[in-house]
């Protein structure tokens, strides 16, 4: 199957539903394995930090949550383009079902950041570049949620949210750099594509495992929600009845 065909079929809820069953299981198993390994390794076996002692260990939750918070918004932006340009049905489902997950991840990143900030910076909250841009990201998620709630027609709500997500994605870099330039106390990113991390491998390896695990969790969660949404959207369709009766006809 060529990539083009794959892309084309991804737009069909029925095809996606039949194909994604195994993917969901695989991602869920991977997520559990990776997160369990990463968390145990990071929380119990990684060496304590020479300055921060054990309090640095919250990084193993904080960084995956923060990475997901941004990735989810980017995914929403991509889904927005797909919906606005190609009217892809699956994109609408993604836009409807991903906002909550992204908002929770952003809230988790902010919360763990605050818990870590108290012993390390001596305060729960500082209006610094990266914390502020994460807070703004949370407001962007709230905006998407509120807009969808406010528009009664489902189709119009989907397209309005798509537009807002695209505008948001274009704006995120500007927001990020404006507030980073404004003032910065937060340390730089732990992982960069261009250079080796400043931490020893025994500390960043479990973090990497956790980040990968978080992405698998994201995928498993999204697929599960999409499958549920597809069933809810087409409860009477013939293929759904066939599937429920146990005979799968992809």
């Amino acid at each position: 199957m060529t990539l083009k065909q794959f892309w084309h079929r991804l737009g069909s809820p029925k095809w996606f539903f039949h194909m994604s069953g195994p993917w969901q299981g695989a991602f869920a198993v991977l997520a559990v394995l990776l997160l369990l390994t990463g968390m145990t390794w990071g929380l119990a076996f990684a060496p304590p930090d020479y300055q921060q002692g054990n309090s640095f260990r919250i990084i193993y939750v904080h960084v995956p949550a923060a990475v997901l918070a941004q990735s989810v918004y980017l995914t929403l932006g991509v889904a927005g383009v797909l919906l606005l340009v190609w009217r892809m049905k699956m994109a609408q489902l993604v836009l409807e079902n991903l906002v909550g997950f992204g908002a929770w991840m952003t809230a988790l990143a902010l919360f763990t950041g605050a818990v870590w900030g108290k012993p390390t910076w001596g305060t729960w909250w500082v209006f610094d570049g990266r914390t502020t841009s994460t807070l703004v990201l949370l407001f962007l998620y709230f905006g998407l949620y509120a807009l969808r709630q406010a528009i009664p027609s489902r189709e119009a709500a989907g397209r309005a949210c798509a537009l807002l997500a695209v505008v948001g994605v274009i704006n995120i870099p500007v927001i990020k750099y404006s507030v980073e330039w404004w003032t910065t106390l937060h340390q730089g990113a732990t992982f960069k594509l261009t250079e080796a991390p400043a931490m020893p491998a025994s500390m960043w390896a479990p973090l990497l495992v956790n980040v990968l695990g978080a992405y698998c969790l994201f995928a498993a969660n999204l697929i599960a929600k999409l499958r549920t949404a597809i069933l809810r959207q087409e409860p009477g369709a013939a293929w759904v009845r066939d599937w429920a009766a146990g005979e799968v006809r992809p």
């Binding site: 407001f139 905006g143 807009l147 189709e155 309005a160 505008v167 948001g168 704006n171 927001i175």
Partner: protein
């Protein structure tokens, strides 16, 4: 098309002047409120003045954005506009231009007066005015996208604020820091370039997004 739309909206505005004056009244009322709430200490107020004025301009702009498309949606003008063979880009730009004259250009002219109430040093006034002139087009243009998305929705006002304030943050940051840097004696050219760049980008992109948003809003109403 731009000129026609501009003239029509300008006439409408001149015939219901309260709408045009409301944002400015809000700016001065709220400035006074801040001055009284901070106890009127001139030195403290001078430090806070750029932040207060910029934040209030942002909010005042938001107030007038809410009405940008509402009347046209209610009387059907908006639908006719979208049905024209000509793309509505120029017309949307014309509407935003009128809105900007009242809550952007007029603000830039009158905000120094509000800033003087807050005891901002006169040397910093040109920076405030220039920042407002360069930054408010972005506020109005990005705002038009939000206004187009929320036109005709119940509780549109609060929703509009929620949608737009995060997107307006960069303009606020650069605008305030331009005034503060000027007060500190450091040049603020970088901030002005940033504001101009954001406005230029908004000028080229926002009318398209606003048009798309208007189509969504009109189709469902």
């Amino acid at each position: 098309m731009f000129a026609v739309q501009f003239r029509r909206d300008w006439l409408c505005l001149m015939r219901s002047r309260d709408e045009a004056v409301n944002p400015l009244v809000f700016l001065f009322l709220a400035t006074t409120l801040f001055a009284i709430a901070f106890g009127g200490d001139p030195r403290q107020l001078a430090e806070l003045a750029p932040a207060i004025v910029w934040a209030l301009v942002l909010l005042a702009n938001l107030l007038s954005l809410e009405a940008l498309f509402r009347r046209d949606l209610e009387d059907g003008t908006l639908e006719q506009l979208l049905l024209l063979a000509e793309p509505p880009f120029a017309a949307v730009l014309g509407k935003v231009a009128v809105q900007w004259c009242v809550s952007g250009a007029a603000m830039a002219v009158l905000a120094p007066v509000a800033a003087l109430l807050l005891n901002l040093p006169a040397a910093a006034l040109p920076a405030l005015m220039l920042g407002l002139l360069l930054g408010t087009p972005a506020l109005s243009l990005i705002g038009a996208v939000g206004a187009a998305l929320t036109v005709g929705l119940r509780g549109g006002g609060v929703l509009l604020a929620l949608l737009l304030l995060p997107l307006h943050l960069p303009v606020l940051v650069f605008g305030v820091s331009a005034v503060l840097d000027t007060m500190a004696g450091v040049g603020a050219a970088a901030q002005f370039y940033w504001l101009a760049a954001i406005s230029a980008a908004a000028l080229t992109l926002a009318p398209f997004a606003a048009t798309a948003a208007l189509r969504i809003s009109v189709e469902q109403s």
